[in-house]
């Protein structure tokens, strides 16, 4: 599932504070595949990070 997303990152803003949110990433390592998220400020996002859901 969703292996086409490997290595990609998305920023999902918090509902109550859009300037902050979760940076969600798809990772496939040597043993398993997983989704990970880390809270961060929108202002700290690297260039090119997509905001919100991918285009389905």
């Amino acid at each position: 599932m969703a292996d086409q997303y490997e290595g990609e990152k998305w920023f999902f803003p918090f509902e109550d504070d859009p300037e902050k949110g979760d940076l969600v990433e798809r990772v496939i390592d040597a043993r398993c595949a997983y989704w990970t998220s880390k809270p961060m400020n929108k202002s700290d996002l690297a260039a090119g990070i997509k905001i919100g859901a991918p285009v389905k």
Binding site: D29, R31, T36
Partner: protein
């Protein structure tokens, strides 16, 4: 379709018939469990090194340092700062969800990373940082280095070393007598009070708020009557309650972060409808738990995963106390048996996954401790069944389900301690036997009634409390009640028992390390009677045991200063009293593990026989042979090897050894002053995880025929390899001469049994009859390896074909192929008993 099913069944049966249980498990489990089992990153060390690809999570030191390096941290009690550090980790460290998982939550930031608890031992921090395997990611190193510097004075090691004298510091580090100390190991033990905290954290926070409200009134209410005693009472407690609250609130937020991630995946990425629903279920469970009491079986398991993983961010437990068939029974019974909202098979899927999630965790422990549990990420010994406080034997279908799941996932941790009672249900006992027959090495069988008495003897627990015992460590039990729960074991200052015999021979001088470490008990050559030698051994043992106990008591004082916010918040009496978990001390649960012991006892017997009774040699001759490590004296060595040995029901050896145990209890353990208000003394707990291989180079040549470097005996009361020549009943007869209710806190017996002999129902009948004899003799513990040498040798040759082959080491199980060669050989060398 029916034919395919039949073929599959036939294939599975064939694997069972061939006793190829690891391949059977792979075929028998569901695709989801098979994926998760193979996807999990084992944190088991091989020797002292972690397996390739394993990393240490840098967020621990970095986030802790951010909090400890503040103005507030200098003003506040340690526990308050610690709770803020934990909150930062719970709020900000990455969390993840593995594909196909239905139960989520992990201590570290990624599946291959161990969480790094950085305020334990600065020595461990430095060791991680400088590890040859690059455990710390390159880009994080500068920040981690800075964090380590900030945190060093806040580490338990630095705080403890300030209070230890030079001798203690040297002894702790050289491992000649002690195998470490808690301030170096970065590990501690606790019991869990599931029956309290399963009410949900919100309910506990409400209790804390009530206390805080009262405290605020006493301290700050305008117009309130000054009352120093009342004010003092609350001043001592307010910070503790605040720290507990901060921690619980952050753990609720951590669960909600997992809930949000599950929802994001479901709503934005997942296309499979079934998986979408599973993710939404995960989200719902994590929104609800641990904030609230679980509403169903899956929520109960999810609650406990989050509770435990968060607890391990506070401090790596040496073990993972759990009594799952008792704890989760009410939800299982409701869902599976009454409401039938899930099937038994689905419940088994959840349990299998729960075991894999537990196995995923690994202790961040120092190198020596890793060597001691080589091959195992834990160990975690979970407890099953037993006699309930009302005297009713309490086993249930969940006991069976857990054992069935264990055979499917074949993880080396958790393992199980089965509380054995002669009238326990036969189906549960058969199920336990089936696990042993599958070569898992668990459950170990514990004599419930003996251990209840032992709990009452040493800890002064009331009968009802004692009956709730759960394994707190590999073999030592502890109640799970309000007053019985305890935050820590301090056997981290364990000792090498056999060293006492070596020191008695060399007048307190340690010939391996060339140091005078023991008291001068006299030149053994001048000892005219065996009794003098016997007393010298006792004096040496006393010095070591008491020194270890003193170090441990100092360690406890430091831990009381540090506090533990999570553990305190999950103990009822801490929330009620406002004391941290180290300040409560109704029932102590103290012991010092005696790693490596029966080699020394056999040596004592050999000396009596050859020097004092038969007068074949004098001490000068024996000392010369020992000094030369028996080189050039093989014929003489064999004479010593053939002296009477423990484990053969030989009164010559057994009576002396029993007498030594009595004297150790009466002269060494009982006089020890410890902190439990109702407890007495500080007992030994002979066992040795994998210390028997590591100690081979720490203990020199001895009169039992051992040479420096030889692997020591395993277990605590196991006979030496190949020395138990009179069969399994003779082993039990010897071991049964010890009084297991009160001679030590617990003791460990390893036995190896023949898989060929134990096939079919007849095999079970034989084993059950053996266990009944074991129980009648009042022995507290026994565990089995049931794998033949042919398989073990094949696994040494082609390890890649035997990845899930499990063996019992001592106190824990391990994947055979992850053990070092020395430990593998010691298991192959064990006597296979025909019962």
């Amino acid at each position: 379709m029916a034919t395919i099913k039949k073929d599959k069944e036939a294939e599975l049966q064939e694997l069972l018939d061939k006793r190829q249980y690891w391949w059977w498990a792979e075929q028998a489990r569901s695709p989801r469990i098979d994926y998760l089992r193979k996807a999990v990153w084992s944190k088991a060390p091989k020797g002292s090194a972690y397996l390739p690809g394993t990393k240490i999570c840098e967020y621990g030191p970095i986030m802790y340092a951010e909090v400890f390096d503040t103005y507030d941290a200098k003003l506040e009690p340690y526990m308050v700062t610690w709770s803020k550090a934990l909150a930062k980790v719970n709020d900000e460290m990455p969390c993840f969800i593995v594909d196909q998982a239905r139960l989520v939550g992990y201590c570290g930031s990624a599946p291959h990373k161990l969480f790094w608890v950085p305020n334990g031992a600065y020595g461990l921090n430095e060791d991680f940082f400088n590890d040859k395997d690059d455990l710390v990611d390159e880009e994080a190193r500068p920040e981690v280095a800075k964090a380590m510097e900030i945190l060093k004075p806040y580490t338990q090691q630095a705080l403890t070393e300030r209070l230890l004298d030079k001798r203690m510091k040297i002894m702790a580090r050289t491992s000649q007598t002690y195998t470490g100390a808690q301030h170096l190991e970065n590990s501690a033990y606790c019991t869990s009070q599931w029956t309290y905290y399963n009410k949900g954290y919100n309910a506990i926070i409400a209790e804390i708020d009530e206390h805080l409200k009262k405290g605020n009134e006493v301290l700050y209410k305008l117009g309130g009557l000054p009352d120093f005693d009342q004010e003092y009472h609350y001043l001592q407690r307010m910070d503790n309650w605040k720290a507990m609250k901060t921690t619980l609130e952050s753990e609720i937020r951590y669960a909600k972060r997992l809930a949000r991630l599950a929802r994001i995946i479901a709503e934005n990425f997942e296309t499979d409808p079934q998986r979408k629903q599973e993710l939404m279920d995960i989200s719902e469970r994590c929104e609800w738990c641990p904030a609230n009491r679980p509403r169903n079986f899956a929520e109960a398991l999810q609650f406990e995963i989050i509770q435990t993983q968060c607890r391990k961010r506070e401090k790596p437990d040496g073990t993972w106390p759990s009594h799952p068939d008792w704890w989760f029974w009410e939800w299982y019974e409701q869902d599976v048996m009454k409401d039938k909202t899930i099937t038994r098979d689905d419940a088994k899927e959840y349990v299998c996954e729960y075991l894999i999630r537990a196995f995923e965790y690994g202790n961040c422990r120092e190198r020596q401790a890793r060597t001691l549990t080589t091959g195992d990420p834990g160990p975690y010994v979970w407890t099953l069944g037993g006699m309930a406080p009302d005297g009713k034997l309490t086993y249930n279908d969940l006991t069976n389900l857990i054992l069935e799941s264990a055979r499917l996932v074949r993880v080396v941790s958790p393992t199980y301690a089965l509380r054995y009672n002669k009238d326990m249900p036969k189906d549960v006992l058969k199920n336990a036997f089936e696990c042993i027959r599958h070569g898992l090495g668990y459950p170990n069988i514990r004599n419930d009634q003996i251990l209840i008495q032992s709990q009452m003897f040493w800890s002064g627990s009331p009968l009802e409390d004692a009956r709730t015992w759960t394994a707190q460590a590999c073999i030592v039990p502890c109640p799970e009640t309000k007053n019985g729960c305890l935050p820590a074991r301090y056997s981290a200052s364990a000792l090498l028992g056999t060293k006492a015999v070596e020191l008695a021979i060399w007048n307190g001088f340690n010939p391996v390390f060339n140091m005078q470490i023991g008291p001068k008990t006299g030149d053994v050559s001048e000892m005219k009677t065996f009794d003098e030698f016997f007393e010298a051994i006792l004096t040496q043992f006393k010095a070591i045991h008491w020194q270890a106990a003193k170090m441990r008591n100092i360690g406890r004082y430091v831990e009381e200063y540090m506090g533990k916010p999570h553990l305190s918040a999950t103990y009822e009496r801490c929330v009620e009293s406002g004391l941290n978990c180290f300040q409560t001390r109704e029932y102590g649960n103290n012991w010092i593990s005696t790693y490596v012991w029966m080699d020394g006892m056999d040596s004592m017997v050999a000396a009596k026989k050859m020097i004092y009774d038969d007068k074949k040699y004098n001490w000068d001759q024996v000392k010369e042979m020992l000094e030369k490590n028996w080189e050039g004296y093989e014929k003489e060595r064999m004479e010593f090897v053939h002296t009477p040995k423990w484990g053969n029901d030989d009164p010559y050896a057994d009576d002396l050894i029993v007498k030594m145990h009595e004297r150790i209890r009466d002269d060494v353990c009982l006089p020890c002053g410890d902190w439990g208000t109702n407890s007495q003394g500080c007992p030994t707990a002979p066992q040795c995880v994998a210390a028997h291989t590591r100690a081979g180079i720490l203990i020199g040549a001895l009169p039992n025929g051992r040479r420096l470097g030889d692997t020591c005996y395993d277990g605590g009361c196991s006979p030496g390899y190949g020395f138990d020549v009179k069969g399994p009943t003779a082993v039990l007869q010897s071991v049964g001469k010890l009084t297991h209710e009160n001679m030590f806190r617990a003791n460990l017996l390893n036995q190896r049994i023949s898989p060929a002999q134990l096939v079919g129902d007849k095999g079970f009948d034989l084993w059950e009859s053996y266990i009944r004899t074991w129980c009648d003799l009042g022995i507290n513990h026994v565990q089995f390896n049931c794998v033949d040498n042919e398989t073990l040798l094949a696994a040494q040759k082609e390890p890649e074909d035997y990845v899930e082959l499990v063996v019992r080491v001592a106190g824990y199980s391990a994947n055979f192929t992850t053990l070092n060669k020395r430990t593998q050989d010691s298991i192959i060398a064990r006597t296979i008993q025909e019962i």
